[in-house]
Amino acid sequence: MPRFEYAVEMVGLMRQNLLALTLGLITQLSLASCSTPAHVGEYPNQQRVVGKSKSTILACAGAPNKEAFDGGRTILRYYREAPILEESRPVGKGSFATVRHGCWATVVLVDDRVVNVQYRFVPPTFDASNDCEDIFDSCP
């Protein structure tokens, strides 16, 4: 086989394998990302409401979606769905819609004082901390 044709064939083979490797890597990263929940950290508004009374929380965050009493604890649950204007944007002559997402904030009160606030993203793989933070944005 002439040297030039051999070189062309080798380059072609390398490119094909590179493509396969790239596809494999993308597949792997994609699948890995599917199974990884977004990290729930600590956030300014979340920390600020700790120690506040129930009446203060109701005044600044409004009525909760759900309320429960568990032993000596009062539990308030708030949910905020991200506005659709964030999730769907008109582009060209149509639009591009991304996932609808939101965040649950669970406020735990003991003796009328907030002792803990937990955030949970929906879906868990999408960091929606800004939505939970918005719930307490008006809190002192």
């Binding site: 979606n65 759900k66 769905e81 591009f96």
Partner: protein, 306 residues
Amino acid sequence: MISLDIRTAMILIAGLALGLLVMWAPQASALEKYGRPLPSMGDANGRGAEESLFAGYLLAGVFARNPSFAARPDNTGLVGLRHMLHLETDLYRQYLTFYTDQNLFSDRTNGWIELSEWDGTYAFTGVLGHVNWRLQYERDAPLDRKGVTQEYADGLVTAKFQAVQDFPWWHRHFPHQNLTAYAGAGWLFHNRNYFARPDNTGRALFRYVAHIDLDLYKNKIVLYGDVNMFTDRDAGNQASPTELDWIIGLAARWRNMELAVYHEQDQPLDRAGLVQKYLALQLRFSFDISKQDLGIGLTQPTAGGQ
């Protein structure tokens, strides 16, 4: 055409298998911060009654400066006004959503008011982690006269990046800002007169998309850019882009409204030809009807322990 030999196929399968292993690896359960678990209050991973039943927005736009953006699919006229309705509903959580866009355009060379084009899109979309997929059908038709109708159906896969989530340091430095982006590729598996260049030549085969949203302040002020490229199925290289559509815009949001100013330019890439461009102002009003709003799935306050 790409042909796969056994070695290539094995590399692909190995990559897939590794991905599946990562996906189904045992995951540690989260520890309850205060030792005692919280009482169950509905679906642990869902939105319950708060889930949106359907949502959408109305859009009104004026093409403030439009030297060349056509008002009909046959490239006649110049767009004056744009009206749009977007409607979407989750069929199964975030995994399967249906949406439709109905776009109406008027011709500024024909009195601004009478509608000249109607573009309808119907799509299914969903998300798996960072990967978003879409199956869409679009039909663009003239309204005020007979002419070319363009239609296609495509499949599109994009990968999403969110700085606040993917860069651990981002939140510390920019607590009120975010950067989101997606990019991907699509295949127009059905194409009837959907052209590959702004001058209505060629037939589109693949599309490459990229989008970026720079949230400047709490999702109230957003700078965004969008790129959409098409390839020509009749060209020598079917994967090489022949058209580039790009948009840059700035949006300000307040409650359920958004005012945006943006510029779009559609240009050929592989030869000289018609460039369509405009500067527009648009207003969007959103609406969102949840199950709770209609009294579906409401639960009473609970008392007592587990």
